[in-house]
Amino acid sequence: MRSIPPSGAFAPNPTSPVPEPVLSIRDLVVEFSTEDGIVQAVDGVSYDLYPGETLGIVGESGSGKSVSTMSLLGLIPQPPGRIVRGEAMFQGKDLLKLSKKALRRIRGKDLAMVFQDPMTSLNPVLKIGFQIGEAIKTHNPKVKDDAVKQRAVDLLKLVGVPNPERRVDQYPHEFSGGMRQRAMIAMAIANEPSVLIADEPTTALDVTIQAQILEVLKKAQDETHAATILITHDLGLIAELADRVIVMYAGKVVEVGDVSTIFASPRHPYTVGLMDSLPKLTAAEEWLTPIPGQPPSLISRPPGCPFHPRCFLSQGRARCREEEPPLRPIDESAHLTACHFAEELEGRAGHLVEPVGAGT
């Protein structure tokens, strides 16, 4: 596609020295006040996103993975939500301290988002082309209407919507779920964002469509060179797309590392549990192995490690109950874990089949 020129010089190159992160989040705390009390949805999350990389954020429902990114864009309803503290540096500015107006200028332009459910995320009464064009026009008010429309057609073509000249004038209900998600991706990359956040982009889709959408996401990333945050609970998706992985549990980051490292040698019992709970094609098993117990209530957090009541490694050790484990480097510097006894997992390989086509 010639219509989208490369917008940045940061081609992903794993051998070069560590570049400056495009997005740097420090100690983010987000609360929601509910009738039962204050829910700490995100509790002190820090991570960096580097140019051109795909960062996977994985965790159960309610682990704070979506909230941590949506709060950056000012998309959580406030109230009941509240960003208590933290810092999110992006292009030299702290997103959390920007005015509404300044944040709006970044939203959809430099920081774009693809949402989970394409069936409900598009406005049913507006044409697809209009909805894509609106994203362009808001940030480039001087562009002529027919140029906007042409760009919408090009974008639809880029994300693999067949017959885009005709489709651009159709309404969302005339699109299938997969096609709608393609349109959502087209909308998100319309302004060549430097960061693309994909919040469970395939969860609501048919399995056969998921692979296609992943291809589109990869292609969109190649075209725009956007650093991508991929939020999912699907480890297969992480293996397929991500370069690095953040594992979240109960609003906290519990493990960070390269995708190959995490899958080959997970160093947090929760990550191990997640992998064990996946069905394996190689073994004939009658039952899956779930993680026992329930995620903790985020209203009254247990003291100590949030995972200890469900942990197979803890074995009732007092330290797990009393002392909250910090996120610390293990093995090599880029691999972080928040477990007191991570070393005991040494030699324990992930059960997942080798990641296919991981990385770029």
């Binding site: 864009l73 000012g74 998309l75 309803p77 509404k100 709006r104 200028r105 970044i106 939203r107 959809g108 332009k109 774009a112 988002m113 949402f115 459910d117 409900t120 995320s121 598009l122 406005n123 049913p124 009464v125 507006l126 609106e134 994203a135 808001t138 940030h139 309404y171 209900h173 959502m184 909308m187």
Partner: protein, 325 residues
Amino acid sequence: MLTYIIRRLLYSIPVLVATSFLIFTFVSITGDPLGRLRSNPNITAEQIHSIEHSKNLDKPVIVRYGYWIRDAVTKQFGTTLFGNRKIWPDLRRVMGHTLQFILSAIIISAILGIAIGVYSALRQYSLFDYTATTLSFVGFATPVFWLALMLQVLMVQIFLKWNVRVFYTSGLSSSVNAGHGFHFLLDRVQHLALPVIALCALSTATYSRFMRASMLEVLNSDYVRTARAKGLIERRVIMRHAFRNALIPLITVIAIDFGALFAGAIVTETIFTLDGMGFYFVNSLFASDPYPVMAWLMVVATMVIIFNLIADILYGVFDPRIRYE
């Protein structure tokens, strides 16, 4: 779309035929229009028979239905039973009056209701929202006859105290100074104001509640979040993405209300002696004259059908998911 409208209109023909039959039979069997004459000792049985014969009242109901349909189609509902007064000119006049009355009431209450509902939703749980909620419940709970009477009392008191005529308390125009052009319009407004206010109290309450609920639902929808994520200014998010979608359910409510109100707000029209549909109906009933009642019922049935059709068409205009082939 055009084929859809034509088809719907064709469908409504059998509905109207069935309605006309039901109307005629039920009105015919519910009372003897000559009852009062029969009990009058000055009228002989001969005279009664002669009236029955001349008006075909001695024929079976089904035959009389045939005569009535013939008159309805060829002679615009024919004449009244007593006095041989033509029905259609009267009916057309009261329809016009009712139309002025309810059109003003619906337009005003729709604008007010939508504005209040949207603002309440945008400022949910604010002082404004609570006030609007409370007032709308007051609006629901206030009987229209009471409100109408209170408004009349208020205007009379103002007139007595300061000798200022703000609004008239009955009728449609003052015969003395109902001039032409602007003066006529002003006079009409002064007459219609009180009944419109009385009618608006309930409709505004209904519409604002509807709009608030609908707007709240839409504001929490995923596509509004998408619109925000695109970086649209908030006004555009609200107007283009939320408002239009939130309006869709209200359109149906208003259009159907229109059809229903066309039957005339009987209580309001009676209290304000408005020469409208409701007033006409009540007077015809009291005169125990079946033919104006039947004609009135037919007109109302037709209006309900038409406004249901309009509701469906508007639905299709606002919501592209609904297309009529």
